[in-house]
Amino acid sequence: MTGATLIAREEWRALLRNRAGLVATALLVLLVLVASFTSLERHSSIEADRAHYQATVDHAFDQQPDRHPHRMVHYGQFVFRPIAPLAFFDSGVDSFTGNIIFLEGHRQNSANFAEARQSSLLLRFGQLTPAFVLQTLAPLLLIFLGFASVARERERGTLRLMLAHGINGRELLLGKLLGHAAIALAVGLPAFIVLLGFALAGAAAWPETLLMLGGYSAWLLLWVLLSVSASALVQRPRDALAVLVGLWMVVVILLPRVLPEVAAARISLDTKIETEIVLHRELAAIGDSHDPEDPYFNEFREKVLAEYGVESIEELPVQYAGLVGIEGERLTSAIYAEAASRSAARESAQNRFVHAFSALSPLLAIRQLSMTLAGSDAGAHSDFLQQAEDFRYRFVQQLNRMQAELLPGISGEDPRISATYWQDIPRFDYQALDPLRRQEDILWPFVVLVGWIGGLLTIAAFAAQRLERIAK
């Protein structure tokens, strides 16, 4: 293997002489640092904003005066989605999802004020995060550094010379690969150091950090393998450059944009309006609580009376309207949940369709892996929505129970309960989704990346053999 290390060292020397390459590498490293810094700064300002808003609205809830509990059901609670610590590294879909939801009784409001809806189209050029630099720009740098690695030797005739001097094709290619792999890791290093620093400071968990490092290392190595193999297979450096930039364009820019259009055309989502209309129709089909002749609510009344062992509503120790409220909330929430899971199923079918093509465009694999580990993917967002909905149901039902149980003891035509009760209502306590529990979302991207690397190694072995033939 001394031949290979010799070649690798020679390659480094050649790259050191390549002034444009050095400048480009330095720029990329600088860009990673700038991206880390700005993204971290943005991250912490968003986090501070949301924490501030959350504290403000929680305080405002506590400060509400004596009221009828149903009024508090509609005063509702605002919840803000806290961002995951690693989202600074990969902001994922965070800018495209609304991060504030208004929670109230018998309605499921949408999460609003997504950054992408408040930004100009400039946002669509991409967001400056370390992940953007590593996913989109680093492959291009590796192409520029690697496209000439073998083709250059071939064009100048030094290839034949080396092979004639007893260096075999395999050694040669291995040496080039080693040289460029080391450079690729060096290119990734600043971003990796930032990640490791985060883990060391305890701000991010080690398993996620290490998996992230592993994923991005595989991603960068994949491009090294691609560019060196292409360089060994073609006749002239510029052909290698054309092929590689073309591939990059298809894999990194084109397919990730085209596939979602296909997915959206194949599987359509219902609009919120249609969902609401269906919901009202289904609710109306169950019954009308205001109608004394309504069969569903008659049955419900009989059940309640039997449960409390009384003959009429007036004899109930609790407020009947409050019980109807609890039952109504249960019914609406179930129908909403069904609609939400239908919609979520369609969305994940769309995403699965796109992910299925990650074998063609490994960018999809690394993006998925990175977002999942950073806690900024669509799965983490829908988990937030689910937690918010569970919370909404709990606190609305608690208020409804207050209405049923406390109001019978209060007389007057405007019955209110004491404001001190509002402090018994729980506040939203978001539990971040543990990425490690989502093994499939992590495993598959790795399978794709390793598969690509394996396939490219085979191609490299084939290229090495072909190089041998030149010598003969």
Binding site: V34, E41, A60, A116, S119, L140, R257, V258, A265, L269
Partner: protein
């Protein structure tokens, strides 16, 4: 065979050039097709929603207009549909239409708690951005131009033909080559656009302005290619340098610009106004009703005499309270819109120096699918909402019953007038930058010719 014919033959005989041009044609056709599919998809959704909405409204009418005939209930339950059909040129530049709602239901209650509701969309599909003609123009065409033009000079030098070429009588060989390539690129981009525009019955002027933008943007990249080609000695270096320029101009600087703009101009007022509106409406229940009415009557004096009612609740007070809630946050609403417009303005200004951003701004303004188009839609919703409120007030304040016939009188939303415009300064700046680069490129070529 004329020289132009000969050049065309030479150009198309080169495998790389042919592949690059065919690729551009294919991408451009695919993009126009994909954009048209998205446009018809949105039209279908609008029709589907309109149908469902009609049925829903009929059900509300059935339930409310019977014995009760209470205008308060009618206004509470009768949501009215607003829709923003895709503008004619949207197929070429979808802009923000994949994120921003193009159907929204409103009722006569507080507008500000209804206006910013999000439609359902899949964030992961939205993340990479839309695949449309504007994307092919801004991102991919420069790469094709790089493939076609990076070695115009260096390639000849490397092949050892440069001296011979320059010694040929007649000159103009570069001009012929460059113009031929340039025209082919513009045609590859333009023809599918023209076909799409005809099918969509898009206005001629808008389509022509889009074509002009494409022509200028291509001229910029050809100029850059010639300039770098004349400065650098090797084709490979020229290609690498041009791709570097492309990365900086379409990937790095726009993302940096976005980060700076987002940070410098916060848009938190949207959340502020939502929170303030809730407080205003809910406080209404705890303060004397006369206070709410007083505020309402100061902006709606025509109902001042009709503020009395018996009992604890009357719908007219409820509707007045919602309106007062909207009025309480009017300043925040203006501030919110101002911050979003400032973001648009700075993006446009960034486009004066970054041709990619400039071209993006111009084509989306022409297609009316940018943030300004969404503002126009929101404003038209606000106008409709006002009409809707004022429709219910006479019933509420005069205690008039709301009958079945009245349901037919509820105002319907009429789609907004298109707000597309030509971003003149952006276009002039693009023209200037393109002319500058074309001049520099031509001078570079002239210098090469002179030296040899």
């Amino acid at each position: 065979m004329t020289p132009v014919h000969a050049e065309a033959l030479l150009l198309l005989k080169s495998g790389r050039n042919l592949v690059a041009l065919l690729l551009l044609v294919a991408l451009s056709v695919a993009a126009v097709w994909s954009g048209s599919v998205q446009v018809s998809g949105q039209q279908e959704v609008i029709e589907r929603v309109a149908q469902a909405q009609e049925e829903d409204l009929a059900a509300v009418e059935q339930a409310q207009a019977g014995p009760r005939g209470d205008p308060g209930y009618a206004g509470y339950y009768a949501f009215m549909l607003t829709q923003d059909p895709p503008p004619a040129l949207a197929f070429a530049a979808m802009g923000l239409r994949d994120l921003q709602p193009y159907v929204l239901r409103v009722r006569a209650l507080g507008l500000q708690q209804q206006l910013y509701d999000a439609e359902i969309y899949n964030p992961e599909l939205a993340l990479p951005g839309v695949f449309d003609w504007a994307f092919v123009l801004v991102y991919l065409t420069p790469l094709v131009i790089i493939a076609l033009a990076h070695d115009l000079v260096t390639g000849e030098r490397e092949a050892g033909r440069l001296r011979l070429l320059l010694s040929l009588p007649g000159g103009g060989v570069w001009r012929r080559r460059v113009i031929l390539r340039y025209l082919l690129v513009v045609i590859a981009l333009g023809l599918p656009l023209i076909v799409g525009a005809c099918l969509a019955a898009a206005p001629m002027t808008g389509t022509a302005a889009m074509l002009l933008t494409a022509a200028l943007y291509c001229a910029f990249w050809f100029g850059l290619a010639l300039l770098l080609g004349s400065l650098l000695r090797a084709s490979t270096t020229a290609a690498a340098a041009m791709t570097g320029c492309w990365i900086v101009l379409t990937l790095i600087l726009p993302t940096l610009g976005n980060a700076v703009i987002a940070r410098a101009i916060p848009a938190g007022k949207g959340i502020d106004l939502t929170l303030a509106q809730r407080e205003a409406v809910h406080a209404g229940w705890d303060i004397p009703k006369s206070e709410t009415f007083e505020r309402f009557f100061s902006s709606h004096p025509q109902w001042r005499e009709k503020g009395q009612f018996e009992g604890r609740f009357h719908w007219k007070w409820y509707y007045a309270m919602h309106q007062v809630g909207d009025e309480a946050v009017a300043e925040d609403v203006v501030a919110y819109r101002t911050s979003l417009i400032a973001r648009e303005d700075w993006t446009r200004r960034l486009g004066y120096v970054l041709p990619g951003v400039g071209a993006m701004t111009i084509v989306h303004r022409l297609a009316d699918t940018d943030q300004l188009g969404q503002f126009a839609y929101q404003d038209s919703i606000a106008g409709f909402h006002e009409k809707l409120r004022h429709f219910y007030y006479p019933y509420l304040f005069n205690d008039r019953p709301f009958t079945r016939a009245d349901f037919n009188q509820i105002p319907r939303y009429a789609p907004r007038v298109q707000s597309d415009s030509l971003a003149v300064v952006s276009l002039l700046m693009l023209m200037l930058v393109a002319a500058l680069l074309a001049y520099l490129g031509a001078r570079g070529i002239a210098r090469v010719s002179g030296v040899q």
